[in-house]
């Protein structure tokens, strides 16, 4: 038995460090290597960076990037805002009702692909909302209802992410709200602070770290995830994850490095985003450092 502190520490950390290095880091290294064409029998004369060159020459790539950023940004922002709002509402209910409020967790249980399905039966052109609009005399045929699923703004995908992600944001904010010492609020009330003042000066600083963490997680998830766009199956512009999938599995073998090049760039982008976002938050509020 190793008795030194360092030895004990290393033994303690082994169970996670081994799989982390063997699978996670190696996985990323292989992705990067393959993006340089290493590990493939590529035709002579293909350079080190040719996959990157081809990716940037493709007219679809930038559209794909823009589309993914847009969907990530909109769904994460709306989800975080709505989640914050619902958390405040639930926090403000009396304990009599609070136990029923757990229904907000339903989408957390449902897998992403079923969430997209639910959004389709409600929001598609022949969905329930379209029927409701018809009955209300607002439209006369399905085509009058906006096509949310195959449009350029990816509304259907965004709606799916929002329904799935709002409960996550609610959960994150609610769990820190419950730790907020209620005496601060009572003092605020006694000193005559109104709702917005209390929100701005007592609640917001308290929940800010959780809100930022939630935003990072949700933004990067909707930016790079596969399940929902794959189920919705939109054609153009495509999200990056779908472009990667098509390049890797549905195109010829020689375009696989391109798929890996896009993944490498997504990886770098995510790391830079996490670093910059955490920095920016720390610069504004040094106490909100912990991610």
């Amino acid at each position: 038995m190793i008795r030194t502190r360092t030895g004990s520490l290393i033994l303690h950390l082994m169970p996670i460090l081994i799989p982390f290095a063997a699978l996670f880091m190696t996985g990323i290294i292989i992705t990067v290597l393959q993006s340089f064409g290493i590990g493939f029998a590529l035709p002579e004369g293909t350079g080190f960076l040719s996959a990157y060159r081809e990716v940037f020459q493709s007219p679809f790539f930038l559209a794909s990037v823009r589309h993914s950023l847009w969907i990530g940004l909109v769904s994460a922002s709306v989800s975080v805002m709505t989640g914050m709002f619902l958390a405040l509402l639930i926090w403000n209910t009396t304990s009599r009702v609070k136990k029923y409020s757990v229904v907000y967790k339903i989408p957390l249980i449902l897998p992403h692909i079923t969430v997209a399905f639910i959004v389709i039966i409600i929001f598609s052109q022949s969905g329930l909302l379209a029927s409701l609009a018809y009955q209300a005399g607002l439209l006369s045929e399905p085509a009058d209802f906006p096509n949310l699923f195959y449009n350029k703004t990816g509304t259907g995908i965004i709606l799916s992410y929002i329904w799935k992600e709002v409960p996550f944001a609610t959960l994150m904010v609610l769990s820190v709200l419950q730790k907020l010492d209620i005496r601060y609020i009572q003092t605020g009330t006694m000193l005559g602070a109104g709702f917005f003042r209390k929100f701005r000066h007592l609640i917001l600083p308290h929940i800010a770290p959780a809100v930022h963490t939630t935003f990072i997680i949700l933004f990067l998830y909707s930016f790079g995830a596969f399940d929902i766009p794959f189920l919705v199956g939109e054609s153009s512009p495509r999200m990056l994850s779908i472009t990667v999938f098509n390049l890797y599995f549905r195109a010829q073998l020689s375009s696989r490095p391109q798929a890996m090049a896009i993944l490498t760039m997504m990886f770098l982008f995510s790391m830079i985003f996490i670093t910059l976002y955490t920095r920016a938050v720390t610069a504004v509020n040094p106490k909100a450092r912990r991610i």
């Binding site: 950390l13 169970p15 209910t93 249980i109 399905p142 209390k198 997680i217 997504m266």
Partner: protein
């Protein structure tokens, strides 16, 4: 840490407007909140239920033309396949929970109790798999698995799901460890308990609420994952998400609705089971849950 007791907290309603005068106001607020939550989160399930009971339900009807048990008959006739894929999904998800628990128990202990150089960096680094798009590392892992023959096996699925979901368990265990005093372990060791004896009989029981919290998230992530199972399992290992996918994409929304509702059933069942086991363990040991 000055913990407010549960009773005191209930007496003073936490909230923005926590004055005692809010009788009618509070009731109205409760009502609106509940109605909003039900419209947002329960109504879609009601839609699924109605849809599963409809023979057909097409535009522009607000309710189905007629009801039928068609989808239920279909589910019964496909019972074997549905059950097999649910069982397989539950199996690899539970194995993932177990794997993740063993991967993170000791690291959480070290990260919660000891200070060492580079701790914050390690803490942040170990969180990365949950932040990054899963594709960035899973496509590389897929290549490793193909080379080593782990691809298309149960082990492969459990490994990839573990890497993807362990941060949830690690977080839960670290905060659970921070809530229990190190003195318990020291006492147990002084009384002659070995390291693993202390870990298993003193620490783990006190960590149970944290373990339960981490396990539920990990289970849900594994159980609902489509892409990773599809990529690494390659169809060789049954999964309910894989079974469900073509239905969700198809035009028979009625059957897809029922199959989605069936999906909900397994996690709910497991949660009730878990609630029940943890509370009965705690009762048996005379601890307060």
């Amino acid at each position: 840490m000055g913990k407010t007791s549960g009773a005191a907290r209930d007496a003073a309603e936490p909230g923005l407007r926590s004055s005692p005068r809010g009788g009618i106001n509070a009731a109205a607020r409760d009502g609106t909140t509940l109605i909003l939550l039900f419209i947002l989160f329960v109504l879609p399930l009601v839609v699924l239920l109605v849809s599963s009971l409809a023979s057909v339900w097409t535009f522009p009807r607000l309710l189905p033309e007629s009801l039928s048990g068609r989808t239920y008959m279909y589910a019964v006739s496909q019972g074997r396949e549905i059950f097999a894929s649910l069982l397989s999904s539950a199996g690899y998800s539970l194995l993932t929970v177990a794997a993740v628990f063993f991967m993170t128990l000791l690291p959480a202990r070290a990260l919660a109790r000891w200070d060492f150089p580079g701790k914050h960096l390690l803490d942040a680094l170990l969180l990365v798999p949950v932040l990054l798009p899963a594709m960035t590392f899973s496509m590389g892992i897929h290549v490793i698995f193909i080379r080593t023959g782990v691809s298309d096996t149960l082990a492969g699925i459990v490994l990839v799901l573990s890497i993807y979901s362990y941060p949830y368990m690690l977080r839960a265990l670290i905060s659970a460890y921070m809530r229990i005093s190190e003195q318990y372990s020291v006492t147990a060791r002084n009384l002659g308990g070995g390291f693993f004896y202390t870990l298993l009989h003193v620490e783990v029981p006190m960590l149970l609420p944290g373990i339960a919290a981490g396990a539920s998230v990990v289970f849900l992530v594994a159980f609902g994952e489509y892409f990773l199972v599809f990529l690494i399992g390659g169809g060789a290992v049954d999964s309910y998400t894989g079974y469900l996918f073509p239905f969700l994409q198809g035009s028979d929304h009625q059957t897809a609705s029922l199959l989605t509702l069936i999906f909900l059933f397994v996690p709910l069942l497991l949660f009730f089971l878990m609630e029940w086991t943890t509370s009965s363990i705690y009762r048996k040991r005379g601890l307060e849950a």
